[in-house]
């Protein structure tokens, strides 16, 4: 119980439950099949990208270039496929985007690991470069009618929920499975592979990680490359979900994802973060941006509320750290070390 109270995940869950009760109570609309499916659908893209940034933050890095990577890969792949009249399997396109994203992400990683430059500055720069290439070199434009396989995928649904009264339909795109796959891959990697654990170790203390024999250069490049890969997949997901390719569609998306990760307890100083927490963070952000309207709050307030939640989220963790310190010194004052040892011995 004590451990539970220390975790951001617990507080985020409580806030989510309270919000749901509030929304359901006031509008009766939350637990309708339409709303739930819409919510699930809206979580797909931020879910994928937030898991990527979570890994990076655990490794004590920050990345603001992944929306740019997502947009440039999405645009390049869609443009090539569309103008070539590609008709093959759609997964080839996703694979191509993933590879291209990986390459672009690795560039960040190489700069960070070898030149030891601050990651925020590096990714600000590469982000700017990728956007410049898109507008200048590729002269990007909106692709309204995409290659056939992409168009078909955007109309493939797992199921369609229908509201009996209004007749409104909400389909759950098949790409929801991609989110599930990413969750499983990242979850297993972070918890059950040495690679995942080395990312935590590196984030906790880079010097100790190096002394323990971990290849810290590889770890840093890997986290950026992996983010790039997820950004490539995320870009394609965005195209398919919106049914068209809009080159600026992800502008500013990095803040949403970083906020979701931090809300979920990912520590900006590195070493701490979980898949569960980040997904809860995404869910909270999406409930706020989708469902506040059900409470009669205009949509433009959703950013405001998100900001408040972020401050609260960070506030809770710093408050806990502060209190932990106070409790520690207070407990020392109450029991002299000798007595404390005796107590411990009794407990054993």
């Amino acid at each position: 119980m004590k451990k539970l109270l220390k975790r951001n995940e617990f507080y985020v869950s409580v806030v989510i439950v309270l919000l749901i009760i509030l929304i359901q109570g006031k509008s009766g609309q939350f637990f309708t099949s339409n709303n739930l499916v819409d919510l699930a659908r809206s979580c797909i893209l931020p879910g994928i990208l937030t898991l990527g940034i979570t890994i990076e933050i655990i490794a004590h890095s920050i990345d603001v270039s992944f929306p740019a990577i997502a947009m440039i890969t999405m645009y390049s792949v869609t443009e090539v496929a569309t103008s070539a009249g590609y008709t093959g399997p759609v997964w080839i396109l996703f694979l191509a985007a993933a590879l291209m994203g990986t390459v672009l992400g690795s560039i960040n990683g190489v700069l960070a690991a070898w030149l030891k430059l601050p990651t925020l500055i590096i990714t600000l720069a590469t982000s700017s470069i990728y956007m410049g290439i898109m507008q200048g070199v590729l002269k990007c434009r909106v692709i309204a009618v995409m290659a056939d396989p992409l168009e078909r995928l955007s109309e493939t649904y797992l199921f369609v929920a229908q509201n009996k009264e209004s007749g409104l339909t909400s389909p759950l795109p098949v790409l929801f499975l991609l989110l599930i796959a990413v969750i499983i891959v990242v979850g297993v990697m972070l918890k059950y592979t040495m690679l995942g654990r080395s990312i935590y170790a590196f984030g906790g203390d880079p010097v100790s990680a190096q002394r323990a024999g971990f290849n810290t250069v590889f770890i840093q490049i890997f986290v950026f490359a992996f983010m790039g890969c997820l950004a490539g997949l995320g870009g394609m997901t965005r195209t398919v979900l919106t049914g068209s390719c809009q080159p600026t569609t992800l502008d500013g998306y990095e803040m949403t994802c970083i906020a979701a990760a931090v809300l979920g307890g990912t520590r900006l100083s590195g070493g701490v973060g979980t898949v569960k927490g980040s997904l809860l963070g995404v869910l909270l952000m999406m409930i706020v941006s989708n469902n506040l309207i059900l409470l009669g709050i205009p949509t433009y307030w959703s950013k405001f509320v998100t900001g408040v939640f972020i401050i609260l989220g960070i506030g809770i963790s710093s408050y806990q750290a502060l209190r932990a310190q106070r409790v520690l010194s207070a407990s020392v004052l109450e029991t002299a070390p000798a007595e404390k040892d005796a107590k411990e011995a009794v407990r054993k």
Binding site: Y192, M194, A201, D205, A212, G271, P337
Partner: protein, 500 residues
Amino acid sequence: MSDTILKVTNVTKRFGGVCALDNVNLELKKGEIHCLVGGNGSGKSTLIKIISGFYKPDGGTVEIDGIRHTQKYSTMDAIAAGVQVIYQDMSVFPNLTVAENIALTINKSENKKLVNWKQVDEVAQQAFDKIGVQMPLHELLEDMSVADKQIVAIARAILYDAKLLIMDEPTTALTRKEIDKLFEIVRNLQAQGVSILFVSHKLDEVFEIATRFTVLRNGQNIITDETSNATREKMTYYISGRTIEGENFHADIREGDTPLFEVKDLCLENGFENISFKVMPGEILGITGLLGSGRTELAMSLFGLYPPTSGQIFIKGKEVKIDSPMAALKNKIAYVPEDRLTEGLFLLQSIQDNISVANIDNMCRKNGSIDEELVRADAEKWRDRLSIKLGKMEDAIGTLSGGNQQKVVLAKWLETKPDVLILNGPTVGVDIGAKYDLHARIREIVKDRTTAVIVISDDVLEVIQNCNRIIVVKKGRITDELSNEGLDEATLVSVVTSRS
């Protein structure tokens, strides 16, 4: 099979023009606890790094368990030969659990790709069984004490089938109780045939734990002997190269003087209660107590870092209000903190700037610019008075040894001509020679009878030798007040540790 685990023969190491080690020899028998003793800059750390394969010696050989190692000897070879070093920072991961901290590196060195959490717990449990302690396996290390982190580091080292465990000043941040526990573990390991090279400059520890010791000074062997043949005086001489007389400080107290500094019923929530004491002209007041007794909180309150919740403070009979460090400075209170590296110095700034910083307002020309010549003259004055050993005044302070850094901190505050000087752990991490210099200097300060000096320390010998009156703090309250006359170490220790 020989009974020697480590044999260092005629090892020499130079860094540029400086000879860090000059034909040094060191021999450890199997299952022996051996102390490597020496002041700052004596070459202890360099020697450890040569044994662990981190540095290559310029001459001489390292022999482990009868096998002579060549120039190619690396850290990996050292680990393979059974040498494990626990450095002062311990190289642990605060964000991971106890069990994972122990198992992670061994799993890495076995080149595992996947993590089996059951095996992680088993490995950790095994390690704890081996050193004979029990710890919560799933606690995060960042929630644990320095002592516990140390035990985790030992447990981890043991997993590598260590034959020789080198511990670099492991007791620096530990309380007496924790040191006892650590020593118990070390003896337990010794019983299992592990040899231990214990690096320290605390004499009582050397006598307590080691069977033999080796003293280094200025990169040279001074002596290797059984600890039973040595006394504290002899040891002090070996380490510092001079005899240091241990005469206790006597205060010259005159009737009718007003106290220089006085506090009445000072309280801090969660810190201490009803603290009252006076410091008369010519006195050095000692405050001692265990870690967590409230002594540090008290020091910080007197300097305004934790403003007291109630009570009064008087300087030279006048009541003052200390609610911030700025207020403390204005009332001429100077505070030399326990952790000089993070709280007392600007490590990357030059030595002379560090000395002048607290008094910078008085070193300006009329137009407000800093008078560099004055700064320099002043720094030179303190260098000579406190015999600070340094290369150039412009060097970064981080290049000095611990003892000399502490002298600079002291110089910085003396420069402000304080009415009240609070020294918190003035000689923590300082070697014997520099310690003596610092003590002599502290005694000189009170001779002019205008500065109240308060020494807060858990080094009982230090307070007995240098303070004419000693206040013992326990659980945030003053429990005893003693004169240093006829007071011996054992008595004070029992007063400090007794329960009340």
